[in-house]
């Protein structure tokens, strides 16, 4: 398995180089450093000298790929590609346009993201699977039909509606939780209730429908009939045998997102005032702070690849027939 993991990590390198090249082309060729400078300097009193000084201050005053003025390896290393793009491979994210250290910001912001995303993921997964199994248990009855209708209704509602509706009901009308905000530590519990609840409810429709379909496929298989014939309770049949055998597709969808939980949610964080990485990214996009956007795109790619690798490894844990070679 170790050889497999090493091979997969090596496969990731060209993918990350591709991502890097693509983002580099987008951020430096399509959108030149002059453009970046003009955005950041604003509309008032901007002179050509100010643009040049901004570029020099932020290290954007170098050629893209080849520095003819450099000496020795400097011809290659003293370029925007090496300094701004390849440096990401060693997780050197550099500084944002406001001068703040990006790595430090990421470290500080991933915890609020995780504080929302982890309970939403865990509570959600348990709720969706349980709900799907219940509907499967009552398949072809009015309860099943009601469950499916509920899922379709929940799926049809925009995610934004859940946020605004949740804030309106629980925050504004019933005064049970703060409408938005965040505090680190246990004092922050009251701020997490609403976003987690909204996150779980908004995902109930499509996830439960998906899991229900998986379980329905399993429920008619021979091993289920055998289990029932042995006299096992339906609860045991469903939660042990059906759930166990449906694990591969569940893990495919679930494990891949685990590393990305750190990255948070763009909209939820923005509406609830959570200072996580989701709002960090969306702020950077709005402010056109490309140093941050580049870093977050790269980090997102790394975590996604890590998620895929973890998914593959998790298969071996739930299905002894799977071997990674």
């Amino acid at each position: 398995m170790l050889a497999y993991i090493v091979r997969r990590i090596l496969y990731a390198v060209p993918i990350l180089i591709g991502v890097n090249l693509l983002t580099f082309a987008l951020f430096f060729v399509v959108n030149t450093p002059d453009d970046m400078a003009r955005i950041h300097l604003g509309a008032k009193h901007v002179t050509a000298e100010a643009v040049e000084r901004w570029k020099a201050e932020h290290g954007y005053d170098k050629p893209l790929f080849y520095n003819a003025a450099g000496t020795g390896t400097g011809k290659v290393t003293e370029t925007l590609f090496v300094e701004k793009s390849l440096a990401l491979f060693v997780f050197d994210f550099g500084r944002a346009d406001d001068g703040r250290d990006i790595a430090r910001e990421i470290q500080a912001r991933m915890w609020p993201s995780l504080a929302i995303a982890a309970p939403t993921f865990l509570v959600g997964l348990a709720a969706y699977i349980s709900f799907a199994l219940v509907t499967v248990f009552f398949r072809a009855t009015y309860l099943d039909l009601a469950g499916v209708v509920l899922c379709v209704v929940l799926m049809s509602i925009s995610g934004l509606f859940y946020i605004i509706g949740g804030q309106y009901l629980l925050g504004k009308l019933w005064h049970l939780v703060p409408v938005s905000g965040y505090e680190p530590g246990l004092a922050g519990f009251k701020f997490l209730i609403l976003p987690v609840l909204v996150g779980v409810v908004s995902g109930l429709g499509d996830s439960s429908r998906f899991y229900r379909t998986l379980f329905l496929e399993e429920i008619h298989k021979d091993y289920v009939r055998t289990a029932r014939a042995k006299g096992l309770a339906e609860r045991v049949v469903l939660f042990r045998h059906v759930l166990g055998n449906a694990m591969i597709p569940i893990l495919t969808g679930a494990v891949v997102v685990i590393p990305r939980l750190f990255l948070g949610s763009l909209i939820v964080e923005s509406f609830f005032g959570i200072p996580g990485l989701g709002s960090y990214t969306i702020d950077a996009i709005q402010a056109q702070d490309f140093a941050i956007v580049r870093s977050m795109v790269f980090l997102g790619s790394v975590l996604y690849i890590l998620g895929l690798l973890l998914t593959d490894i998790s298969y071996t844990l739930v299905d002894p027939r799977v071997r990674l070679e």
Partner: protein
């Protein structure tokens, strides 16, 4: 154990405190102002900070020598840290002193001598901390000690010292520091003697040093800024620039102690985000006690703040409005101001209505809930807002939005008669009364010229209307009819919107960086206005950079633009139409590339004059020229609407001053009572939900058991 936070919330509710209170319980009843910020400030260094969302903080921490009087209108400058207004003297090229009324051409340089008040002290800061032997406690700092410092508050020892004239001179030098890239360096380089050369000198010095090494400005003297004595300094300005005094009321000219820059310039500080950009050091009424721009920023009363009293005089209506009730009280009136990050309008508005924010703007989504437009067209609070004791304040901003014509465009531009009539026709056709009503909820007034109300030279009434677009009728300005516009269009050679010679329809191009659904309706409105003339409008939407590029190259034809005053002087608006300031080629602020020799001549004369009848006469002539030439469609002056709760006092809009927080007052007991009344938790939905869930579970459990017990035969 897991249930304890819920239990504590229930307990709190049982005690009567709102469970949805977003603030720590310890703050309840504190003399604190609660507000929010939607965008994290980028720079808090007074040499760099320029945005409105930054001066909210820098304006309270840093003190330039002058400030705007809080209550008087028109806006009036007064000393802040200075003992008196600057002594201005004029000099010939040989240094000879010239009289105050000397012609501007004869003045080679002006000197502004400023004496600051002795005894003013800085806020507590580790840069001033000293060891018993008088050496700086944290300079140089032991790397191991720095490694153990995670937050700025971890610097346990702080100190303070007296403000001196040298600190002001030091900050002026910082404007030229190439590492800071001050947004006003280019502009000030034209005025402050030797500043441009000083910048070049510093750039050379910086290049000789490693990238993060400390650049000691003390080693490099600046000819245009000098220390006269401990409390006096002098700034030399090229020629005559009467508007310079307004810059002395901005944080750009606030003092920065060299110790602070030396402290922050040490290795390892920047990596921890310890810099002047993030931890300001000032003499102002507040200091930034907590700077977490991801969550909250907290200003706390500066224990060393100097004597500063609430003003005892203002406008005639101020006493009746209760704005003089605190006259003579020592400032600041607040202990603290807490700004929370709130990015979306809906939660901001909800928390304002719950009493957790003391004031709020009005977004278009909430306008109808907050405001009723009376039969006289005047805005007023809705009954719901009145019932909550909320108060409304409105102010016309010292800003203008306009639609510009590129005067270099072969079709629309130039001084030719046909093009001028075409521009005038379009100016009439664009009905900004309708625009303000549809898109701004009435929050603006149609512009009659480039000078908004509150700026010297602006005239109200019949004398102030733009006769090309309006006529005076029944005591008010009435937009000319579309027939007038069509007549002008025909005179321009486009009867019915078609070229007279060829019969081809006239097509014009509107360049904009607006996009999205909201912009679409606005752009459709523009198309519709042009269609009234029979003219086709093609909208060329693009991004910010391409738009700027087009403007620089003069490739745009018609465009939208705006300007917000730096200072309340007509020069700051009329220079937007001054020929040598053209955007194309000169990269100036004259985006329309307008050039009229007579206007330019009058501008040069007007800009150096003191306010008075002679200046007003010149301004009137200049306004008449631009109204006739119509390089802009004067669109509107935006109006700001602000809401505040009844417990907030001394909230008079002052669009020029940055340091208004020190005058603000709150009644914490009243706020607390309202918060509790407005936020009583409603528990029954939780019980109802539990019943509903139970109602769903019980039959399911019964059905499950029945099925489990059923035999094969059923």
């Amino acid at each position: 154990m897991r249930a304890w936070p819920i239990l504590s919330a229930l307990l709190l509710a049982a005690c009567g405190g709102p469970v949805n209170n977003p603030y720590p319980a310890g703050q309840a009843g504190g003399n604190i102002l609660y507000s929010a910020f939607s965008e994290r400030p980028k720079h808090l260094d007074p040499a760099r900070s320029y945005s409105e969302n930054e001066v909210v903080f820098t304006g309270q921490v840093y003190e330039p020598p002058l400030q705007y009087h809080y209550l008087k209108r028109p806006y009036e400058l007064e000393p802040l840290t200075a003992e008196a207004m600057p002594k201005v003297s004029f000099h010939a090229a040989d240094g000879r002193a010239l009289p105050a009324d000397a012609p501007a051409e004869a003045i080679a340089w002006s000197a502004y001598e400023i004496r600051i008040r002795p005894g003013i002290r800085y806020q507590p800061h580790p840069a001033f901390a000293e060891r018993p032997d008088g050496t700086p406690r944290y300079v140089p700092i032991d790397p191991e000690e720095l490694a153990g410092i995670k937050r700025f508050a971890d610097f346990r020892e702080t100190g303070s010292r007296e403000l001196t004239a040298a600190d002001y001179v030091y900050q002026i030098k910082r404007l030229a520091n190439p590492r800071l890239n001050s947004p006003i360096f280019g502009l000030m380089g034209e005025y402050i003697v030797g500043l441009r050369e000083y910048g070049a000198q510093l750039e050379m010095a910086a290049k000789a040093l490693p990238r993060d090494a400390y650049l000691d400005l003390g080693r490099h003297p600046l000819a245009g800024a000098e220390v006269v004595d401990r409390y006096t300094y002098r700034i030399k300005i090229r020629g005559k620039y009467p508007q310079f005094v307004y810059w002395l009321a901005m944080p750009f000219f606030a003092p920065v102690p060299a110790e602070a820059e030396r402290f922050y310039g040490q290795p390892g500080m920047a990596e921890k985000n310890f810099s002047l950009d993030w931890q300001p050091v000032g003499t102002g009424p507040f200091y930034l006690a907590e700077n977490d721009p991801n969550r909250v920023m907290r200003l706390v009363r500066n224990p060393h703040y100097h004597d500063d009293l609430y003003p005892a005089e203002g406008e005639a209506s101020d006493a009746a409005a209760g704005l003089l009730a605190d006259a003579g009280r020592r400032l600041p009136l607040l202990d603290e101001a807490v700004y929370s990050l709130e990015k979306e309008d809906i939660p901001y508005w909800t928390k304002f209505l719950q009493g957790y924010y003391d004031s709020s703007g009005i977004s278009s989504d909430t306008f109808d809930q907050a405001i009723r437009i009376g039969p006289d067209g005047q805005p007023d609070l809705s009954p719901e807002m009145r019932a909550r004791g909320i108060e409304l304040s409105t102010a016309v901003r010292t800003s203008i939005w306009y639609v510009g014509f590129n005067m270099r465009d072969p079709l629309l531009g130039g001084a030719g008669d046909a093009a001028r009539r075409l521009r005038q026709a379009i100016s009439i056709a664009l009905d900004y009364e309708e625009f303000i009503s549809i898109f701004l909820n009435g929050r603006g007034i149609p512009a009659q010229g480039p000078l908004p109300p509150g700026i010297y030279g602006h005239r109200e009434g019949e004398a102030g209307i733009n006769p090309v677009v309006y006529r005076w009728q029944d005591g008010r300005a009435v937009r000319r009819g579309i027939e007038d516009a069509k007549r002008l269009l025909a005179e321009a050679g486009y009867p019915g919107g078609r070229e007279a010679a060829s019969g081809r329809p006239l097509t014009l191009y509107f360049d904009t960086m607006a996009s999205g659904p909201e912009a679409k309706s606005r752009l459709d409105w523009y198309r519709k206005q042009f269609e009234r003339l029979g003219v086709q409008l093609v909208v060329r939407a693009t991004d910010y950079n391409r738009f700027q590029d087009k403007m620089l190259k003069g490739n745009a034809q018609i465009f939208e633009w705006g300007w917000n005053a730096d200072y309340p002087d007509p020069e700051n608006f009329l220079f937007l139409l001054y020929g040598p300031n053209q955007k194309m080629e000169k990269n100036g602020e004259n985006a329309a590339n307008y050039a009229n020799p007579e206007f330019d001549r009058l501008f040069r004369q007007m800009k150096d004059m003191d306010n008075g009848p002679a200046r007003q006469a010149l301004i009137d002539r200049m306004l008449a020229i631009v109204r006739e030439d119509a390089p802009w469609i004067f669109a509107y002056y935006p109006k700001s609407f602000g809401l505040r709760h009844g417990w907030v006092g001394n909230a008079k809009p002052n669009l020029m001053a940055n340091n208004t927080l020190k005058y603000r007052r709150v009644e914490p007991a009243q706020r607390l009572a309202y918060q509790e009344r407005w936020n009583r938790p409603v528990w029954w939905p939780l019980a109802a939900s539990a019943v509903l869930v139970g109602a769903a579970i019980v039959p399911a459990a019964v059905a499950y058991r029945r099925r489990q017990r059923a035999s094969a035969r059923g």
